[in-house]
Symmetry: C2
Subunit: 167 residues, 2 copies
Amino acid sequence: MEDAVPVLRRTPGTLDALLRGLGPTWTQADEGPGTWTPPEVVAHLSHADRTNWLPRLHTILHGDGTFPPFDRFAHLAASGGRTPDDLLDEFAAVRRECVTRLETLRLTAADLRRTGHHPEFGKVTAGQLLATWVAHDLDHVVQIARTLAGVQRNAVGPWQAYLRVLR
Amino acid sequence: MEDAVPVLRRTPGTLDALLRGLGPTWTQADEGPGTWTPPEVVAHLSHADRTNWLPRLHTILHGDGTFPPFDRFAHLAASGGRTPDDLLDEFAAVRRECVTRLETLRLTAADLRRTGHHPEFGKVTAGQLLATWVAHDLDHVVQIARTLAGVQRNAVGPWQAYLRVLR
């Protein structure tokens, strides 16, 4: 817990510093058909905060441990027509509320060992869910930075060979 | 130019939002022998700003186009014993100065087509150098987020299969 919360708390500010006010060259970039632009990734993080992490944790702690379904693409409809900065504001607000609710739970070591049932993996613990929330944030920070770097793919010329993010 | 500067300007704030005040669980993590911790990556970015990007650009615009040598490991000695937050402060200051100097150059399209001699690649343009500066920033943002995510590798349990950053 004391390791997870500091990262969860920092993600909105990290993405805000990286993306707010950037021009369409950057904010409209994706990695090809079926991939997401940086603002769409931000919308996905808000959506996951609302419908995935805490609801699943609640199911482990107070329900029958069966996870509610999570639609990994629902945010695309919800984010249509909204500005990147608006999506950043929304994520900051949603995340702030989630971190507050998480801290209010005052999870114990015993709580973190309690288990739920993942539709694919079977038994998973509350601690694994929390660690995954953190790693999922960082996975999408990587995705956004990689998508932005891709905008420069041709412009860097021969340096592409030295840039791991472009390989 | 109008695409590059906004990203170059944002990188220190992005890394500050992500790293400032984080505990040693995160700031002392690396990806194995010979890899860097997040603060060491920040020190590398400061070092590259000081000794690589603008000096090479200067050589293209005003020198004989032969790049000065760049030691990709010199920052490790320079960063020893300094706190992560101190390294973030240094990077913010160095980058601010570099962006100001870059803007003062008021590079034209003709300037960006001028060429220098890379020891390995041969002829490269000022425009490619500038694009590489941007992509290099993003490459290291990816590296830092990936290094932090690696801290959670075992803790996420079976979810590792879903997290690209951990594969």
